[in-house]
Symmetry: C2
Subunit: 351 residues, 2 copies
């Protein structure tokens, strides 16, 4: 579908790198007061005033992180921004700017790149961040996207991974496991399509799951909500590789353990029914699924009343001494040790 067979399409080689940059960037306007100079010089120029600057970066590679047979390019552009903004929000900061570098093989026509950037632009507009730079080049195979996000926060508001203390409560936003199940549904449909391309999939039962996989939203609202609630987390991280893996990061860096309660894990009804259909354990999916882009944080037990009953937040356990390790308390009240079996791109390749 994306092969450059249509002679009416514009070839990237013809346009050249600067032509492509001009073509893409003319639709992006900068709006942040902190963006002094965006695209168009050797470097972008930013002014953080008296705040601290946050920087985070992620690479997304075709065949490793995404499969274009079910990931529309516009969604891919949107998601590649979300993945990075999520890291900024996980520092309790505001995202302000992004740089986007892409490499594409010559099988992609200009129109494909436009789709990708339409998704990036939608993300920039929705999340109010400026695109301030990047690099465009060719690849010898497939497409890859490298995004760097820049944010700012007052020094005293920045939340690291290393501040969790015993008795702190462990809190997650939203619900878990849906993005991973969305991927399973899409993979299944791809196999069905290979056998019978005429088949019209009925995906109504999985709309939430598929949306979580193809169009995740970063939790920009959470730093604002925490401010409103007057809660400063003691540690925070975003859930990109799965809850277990992120708990390991927080516990390792904070030198603590934790107890997580199986019956507290927030699951969407579609996650529960689809797990039954796929014969998967929903707790395992919630713990190891990944790509939820929810936030995981710890708060002082004194702040419990402030978060109690908030529909965005679920208390799933508490922090313990390091010697107690990371424990899951099952519905049957058994303690089992958590495994950090997050997604590992160096082991798991889609192709």
């Amino acid at each position: 579908m994306l092969e450059d067979k249509n002679q009416n399409k514009t070839s990237l080689a013809e346009l050249g790198e600067f032509g492509l940059i001009n073509h893409i960037t003319k639709y992006f306007k900068v709006s942040k007061p902190s963006t002094i100079k965006g695209v168009g010089d050797d470097a972008a120029v930013l002014d953080a005033s008296e705040k601290q600057t946050l920087v985070t970066t992620d690479l997304l590679i075709e065949g490793v992180h995404f499969d274009l047979s079910y990931m529309p390019l516009k969604h891919l552009g949107y998601k590649s921004v979300m993945v990075n903004l999520s890291d900024v929000y996980a520092m309790n900061a505001e995202a302000e700017q992004i740089t986007v570098s892409i490499a594409v093989s010559n099988r992609f026509p200009l129109e494909a790149i436009e789709e990708l950037y339409a998704g990036i632009q939608l993300a920039c507009d929705t999340y109010k961040v400026d695109l301030i730079g990047g690099d465009t080049t060719s690849s010898t195979k497939g497409i890859l996207i490298s995004v760097t996000a820049i944010g700012k926060a007052k020094a005293e508001n920045v939340v690291y991974r290393n501040g969790a203390k015993p008795t702190d409560l462990v809190v997650v936003t939203g619900d878990l496991g849906a993005a991973y199940l969305g991927l399973q549904v899409l993979e299944r449909e791809k196999e069905v399509f290979k056998v019978n391309p005429q088949n019209q999939p009925d995906l109504d039962a999985y709309t939430y799951l598929i949306e979580r996989q193809l169009k995740p939203e970063a939790r920009k609202d959470i730093p604002a909500l925490l401010k409103d609630l007057d809660v400063k987390p003691t540690s925070m991280i975003d859930i990109s590789d799965g809850l277990s893996s992120e708990l390991f990061h927080i516990c390792t860096q904070s030198k603590v353990g934790c107890k997580i309660y199986e019956d507290k894990l927030p699951l969407d009804p579609q996650v529960i029914t689809t797990c039954e259909e796929f014969e998967l354990d929903s707790t395992m999916i919630a713990l190891s699924g990944g790509e939820d882009y929810e936030l995981l944080f710890t708060i002082s037990i004194d702040d419990f009343d402030k978060v109690k009953g908030n529909p965005n937040l679920t208390v799933i356990g508490h922090i313990t001494e390091e010697s107690q390790g990371l424990q899951l308390i099952t519905r049957a009240n058994q303690e089992i040790e958590l495994q950090a079996q997050g997604w590992n791109s160096l082991k798991n390749i889609i192709v």
Copy 2:
């Protein structure tokens, strides 16, 4: 040579992403006062105090930007940092931090990645910049490196591309064309090697050219020199795609033209002799070669006495009205129009 056939080598899959990150980053220490938090959280945290922050990013892709058959991985790591620092210096700023993301196929063992990061570390140590973050992932083919560099400068010292004015002088640092010729020499040796792997190349006559290609140095000294000379350029850019291409950027953004004098172009003696040997026009090589990572800038004619005779700086022409276009004045005193034929990765693929 880099295939993972040696069973004693450490496979990346075995180590996993976090293992790899820990392994690599334990040798990097942060040293900048502006680096509040480096690797190890969702985002790095920086404090620019009252200065402005500069951000620039570049992608380097195997088979497009480099060929591992003659580019040692350590040099590749070093060069990938230089390419980015050069953009920061081209803003008349100090480079402070970098993020490095890499994607590698499983043909690379850990030892190859260590070589790459040894080069990155050498660059960080030599140029006094902190590695503060990044992403490591697998690729389905080859190796790619995405570097983002962050710098700082007082607002009043930042030099953009758009400030050149008619009568300003056009200045370049160092000499031009050597890196491109170094690539030609290496390409020739690769072809010889394919025919006769026993052949021992004698590269003594090309040492400078090859060093410029494999181990370029960014001009960190130039912002400091300009400060000492009390010269603030009216515009500046680094020479990555070739002098002509960079002159086009400055003239387009500043809405001016220029006159460049062929007999003023600074050439190393090895460039002249090797151009004769390869039957190449040295002026063409100086104008279009690329990868020199020298700086091109314009200064007020009133500052001429301050730069005159400085061994680092060569005045190669002057800025004119936009209507006069971009002209090369040949040794025979002919005016010919400059062509912006810089390197274009979307057209030129090594493989």
